[in-house]
Symmetry: C2
Subunit: 242 residues, 2 copies
Amino acid sequence: MSTAPVSPPRPRGSVTDRVYEALKQDIFEFRRLPGDRFTESDVAQRLNASRTPVREALYRLQREGYVDVLFRAGWQIRPFDFEHFEELYDLRITLERAAVHKLVRQESAEKVISQLQMIWDPDRVALDRVVGSTVRVLDESFHCEIVAAAGNREMARIHQELTERLRIIRRLDFSKENRIKATYEEHAEILDALARKRSDHAAQLLTAHIRTSQAAVRDITMERIREAAEVLQRRVYAGDAG
Amino acid sequence: MSTAPVSPPRPRGSVTDRVYEALKQDIFEFRRLPGDRFTESDVAQRLNASRTPVREALYRLQREGYVDVLFRAGWQIRPFDFEHFEELYDLRITLERAAVHKLVRQESAEKVISQLQMIWDPDRVALDRVVGSTVRVLDESFHCEIVAAAGNREMARIHQELTERLRIIRRLDFSKENRIKATYEEHAEILDALARKRSDHAAQLLTAHIRTSQAAVRDITMERIREAAEVLQRRVYAGDAG
DNA sequence: AGCGAGATTCATGTATTCAAGATTAAAATC
DNA sequence: GATTTTAATCTTGAATACATGAATCTCGCT
């Protein structure tokens, strides 16, 4: 017993992975809307796969909270539940606050912090040229790297999952330039506090930073969902629906 | 769109669920040891099922961190990684501390706290008659209910998962009577602090409580695993192995 | 005996088929 | 016309069959 693993893990290019990513994109791009119902065979046919990998992908998405299975009656995109998103944000704050406090006690902290400071120096960046989608990716990695650097792998994993689940609404935050500018400034402040080992202050700034983003997103989301629904509706009436 | 779900969720008695529970029990009871390798067909034959539900159960267990799939080379019980358990404990502390601070601000707090106080009053319980396995269940629900009462469902869900994953080693904590007595006293103290809305104090007590349990478990676990391994070995030599 | 090439076995990943019951539509009745 | 009954359809859950490639074993060779 206790033989070490010898072969590589599941290959990246599996059908299951492809279906999983495609479905997730569909949900993220609002091509499937909260409440929409569909069947496994539907998805299988659309994505040129059999039901087996489709089912595996759907179960993964179910565990991650994106879809629900209705016993012998198809699947459903989990309806938007804003209270739930609020709770996700809350949990994110809890985790990142804890991470900050852990981080200042790690030896590797300085290195990570100074690396992040290179990226988030508002003076070195042409703020009016920054693209929103890029900032979203950078913002995600800012928060994830802070948590990862705290040294608790499980915490980092949960936080990573949270980030994925919040992505669907968080990216709306970077559609306005003032939010982009604010993000740079706030990140710089947080890093400054971290560099000085002022973990309490850093945690406080981080909390405010996330809360701001949370509030901004809350304002925008409903509007966007309604827009997407209208576009789809129009497509349906024009006879262009699948 | 937006049709409400009409049929009940997946029935409890599904083959997948049965296989899932059986495998988890095997792992918890040390009938399958960390490092052990096995195949899907093995499990299917043993549990009288086809490979399909076995695979679904295994993937669930994989996501929860109990097993690994080796590409085209079978499955493996994830080797014991004590650092990882330490991290799980750490995360548990983080979540429960946050929950305590949230809890004192909830209106429903008083009710939950006084209910728990009924259970964990050391004066009302014949401590020498308490059974370890019962205390473990009660202890789990003590911590879970505090987190649940804080009002963040996602936090409660993650905490619940943590509890499950730690169960395999946590139950070893209640095999000695002094730990049982200490558990009652510490829980009572925590509840007292909560009732007085001293969340800082409660968080501090809770942290110490969990750390104690963590240390006690750390001492016992290795010994137990070795014992289980010896028993199995003996069975193998006696020709009684499956 | 030690070693290596090739065939074979066996593993998971995927596709297909079968089963049971929920949904839906039609038909029959009041 | 409204409502109940019934039959056809459709859905997921589970079992089985097939494909692909890794691991292993055999057999011949040095």
